[in-house]
């Protein structure tokens, strides 16, 4: 692991805390864009030998995760007149504490899953921490739009882990994954837009007409 790589991974985990701690939706979206930018730099930092593959991956990631998606989410906030708060189900302090617990779990579990070429467990830990933090945001935030942010964090965690596979997994596949995420978030954004028009506020807590219990 190069020092730059370690630094980037730690920065990625720190951005998770920034999302957990903020009360403003726009800050959350900006942070997730920043996280996308850090992720775009990761392939270059982890594989110092330049290749077309890593370069294309970095550019594609920056474009989708740091460029188009945050802009699109900001557009949805503006157009649909969403209130600018996160509206968590639990307090921000508790969110951060739970996030810290999640990171702790990730660092405890990671050494049990050794990467074969001895690249250290930081990468695995960072990936798992991101996945857990994403799940935390998904379950404790009420707004549909914040759930999209949580989904992006989760997906970013998977992406970090995927970087261990860049030599193995061909470019075509990464393209497919990136495209799927893009289309998925796009459709979610459109649904969010309709939810707001229909319910006057983008809150998934209001979505409880369909119930059996």
């Amino acid at each position: 692991m190069t020092p730059a790589g370690s630094l980037l991974l730690i920065a990625v985990v720190l951005t998770d805390f920034a999302v957990l701690a903020t009360s403003r939706l726009s800050t959350g979206i900006r942070t997730i864009g920043l996280q996308g930018l850090l992720l775009a730099a990761l392939p270059v930092a982890l594989h110092p030998a330049w290749s077309l593959h890593t370069a294309a991956l970095a550019v594609g990631t920056a474009l989708v995760k740091a460029g188009i998606l945050p802009r699109f989410l900001n557009w949805a906030i503006r157009e649909a007149n969403v209130r600018r708060e996160m509206e968590p189900l639990i307090g921000y302090g508790a969110s951060v504490l739970l996030g810290a617990a999640a990171v702790g779990v990730a660092f405890v579990v990671a050494p049990a899953l050794p990467l074969p070429d001895g690249r250290g467990s930081l990468l695995v830990a960072a990936a798992l921490a991101n996945v857990l933090a994403g799940l935390l945001v998904l379950t404790t935030r009420r707004k549909a739009l914040t759930q999209v942010v949580g989904y992006l964090m989760l997906e970013n965690g998977v992406f970090v882990f995927g970087l261990t596979q860049t030599e193995q997994v061909p470019f075509l596949l990464e393209l497919g994954v990136l495209l799927d995420v893009f289309v998925g978030v796009f459709i979610m954004g459109i649904v969010v837009f309709h939810i707001n028009r229909e319910f006057d506020s983008i809150s998934s807590a209001r979505l409880e007409e369909l119930k059996d219990i």
Binding site: A112, L113, L115, P116, D117, A127, V131, L135, L138, A144, Q147, Y151, L154, E155, G157, V158, F161, G162, T164, Q165, Q168, V169, L173, G176, V177, D180, V183, G184, I187, M188, V191, H194, I195, E198, F199, S204, L207, E208, E209, L210, D212
Partner: protein, 476 residues
């Protein structure tokens, strides 16, 4: 040949968008579906050569799933002709396009031998159906599509992590120039890294299990099936679940080859049993027909993983049950669709179908008995095989519990469905719904279910046997 199976529906999806008139689009849909089924039959007859360096190939398990999805899709397209004449769902032109995009993605899933390509196809099927759920401009369908999107996307993201874990487990095996390709994974399975493989299995079963709707990961299912148009419900309950099952089956194939079946089996059995319990609890007292069918779907996907979990002849029963489940769910959802078309203008519970819609009522009752595993229909054979395997493996209490739960579910379903069939028909039920287009599909599925209950064609039997053997099972 293999590429044609994927590309023809994809091109058809684009072509459908170009047509302005509904009649053209539906004719186009039926044509593409028929061509696709024809190609699938050719592939059944003579398995085509693998393409793209072995990434895509037609193996027996994939062919079984592809065949049943393609047949169900043709029935759904015929149904769509009748449906789109009466209803005008939101999105108009996109409706047929999304259906064909689903068929293309489904073919990609069924034919992929590469776990990464499988994932890409699986995500594409999820996304292709999402706009179809949101067909009415109201809160309920919005809520349904939101739950479906969020839960499926999270599930599928976890499955991607599982896929990456499999690739990592492969580091320990002899170097392969085709990472994540199933044949290579199985060949070198004993030298895959066991703890990575176990972690991968956990993520894959949770990920694809969410998509399949195994309890307790099923919470999106009743809402989505309840709100989606019936023909989309048929494709989800019959097609999407079979594809997600294929994802889990691929993981089981690797686990069985790696001699880690003892790790996989308890998890599969637990998911199966929980699904049956949840289905039994919610089927009783469920009055909405489509939500009832959703819980029946939870029951049947539970049976699928249960059969995989007990192994032996249960695996053969499971593969057969994939076929039966898809046909039975298609039949029930199409019948439910006819009722929805007829009751569009009336309120209150549905009653008196036997007088108002006699043919639909007959199909519904056939579907009820078929889906609950009564002879002489196909699901009886497959459920019997799974149950016998449970008892053969010495799980006496599990077997008794399964029998009890199946009876409870049958009682719950029979109560609601028969309640709707008999009684006095309310006013405002439009009787002109039943035409050839909306009856042909379900009638064909009912016939297929009857045939499969009495006789399994040798070609199908061979494919089922090979598929079961690949997952570490054996024939009955």
């Amino acid at each position: 040949m293999i590429l044609a199976l994927i590309l023809i529906p994809a091109l058809g999806a684009i072509g459908a968008y170009a047509h302005r008139q509904v009649a053209f689009r539906t004719a186009w849909l039926v044509t593409v579906a028929a061509v696709h089924l024809g190609l699938v039959l050719v592939a059944w007859n003579a398995p085509p050569q693998p393409v793209l360096g072995g990434w895509l190939a037609a193996d027996p398990l994939g062919l079984v799933v592809l065949g049943v999805v393609s047949a169900l899709f043709l029935a759904a397209s015929c149904y769509a002709v009748g449906y789109l004449r009466r209803e005008n769902p939101r999105g108009g032109r996109a409706f047929v396009t999304c259906l064909l995009a689903f068929l293309s993605a489904a073919s990609l899933v069924a034919l992929s031998q590469h776990l990464g390509v499988l994932w890409v196809g699986m995500e594409a099927t999820t996304l292709a159906l999402a706009p179809l759920i949101f067909h009415r401009h109201d809160r309920r369908s919005l809520e349904a599509v939101w739950k479906y999107l969020v839960l499926s996307s999270v599930g599928i993201a976890l499955a991607l992590l599982g896929t990456f874990f499999v690739a990592t487990a492969q580091f320990a095996a002899p170097a392969s120039d085709r990472p994540l390709v199933l044949a290579d994974l199985v060949r070198h399975a004993p030298s895959l890294h066991p703890s990575w493989l176990k972690a991968a299995f956990v993520f894959l079963i949770v990920g694809y299990g969410t998509k399949m709707g195994l309890a307790p990961l099923h919470s999106w299912k009743p809402d989505t099936y309840g709100e989606a148009p019936s023909l989309v419900g048929a494709l989800m309950a019959g097609g999407l679940t079979s594809l997600a099952f294929l994802g889990i089956a691929r993981a089981v194939q690797v686990m069985a080859a790696a001699r880690l079946a003892s790790f996989a089996e308890p998890a599969l059995i637990a998911f199966g049993l929980i699904s049956l319990v949840v289905a039994a609890a919610f089927v009783l007292g469920q009055s909405d027909l489509k939500r009832l069918l959703a819980y029946a779907s939870v029951e049947h996907v539970g049976l699928l993983v249960l059969g995989l979990g007990v192994g032996g002849a249960g695996v053969y029963g499971t593969v057969l049950h994939v076929v039966n489940n898809a046909l039975a769910k298609g039949l029930l959802f199409f019948a439910a669709g006819n009722i929805a078309l007829a009751t569009a203008s009336s309120q209150g519970p549905v009653r008196g179908l036997s007088r108002a819609l006699p043919r639909t009522a007959a199909l519904l009752v056939v579907g009820l008995f078929a889906a609950s595993g009564s002879p002489p229909f196909g699901p009886f054979v497959s459920e019997f095989l799974i149950l016998r395997a449970v008892l053969d493996q010495g799980h006496l209490f599990l077997g008794l519990a399964v029998i009890g739960l199946l009876l409870l579910i049958f009682a719950g379903m029979a109560k609601s469905i028969l309640g709707a069939v008999y009684g006095e028909a309310p006013a405002g039920l439009s009787r002109e719904v039943e035409d050839a287009w909306v009856l042909a599909g379900p009638a064909a599925l009912a016939t297929a279910l009857l045939v499969l209950g009495l006789y399994i064609p040798p070609a199908v039997g061979r494919a089922l046997l090979q598929a079961a053997t690949a997952m570490g099972g054996h024939g009955p």
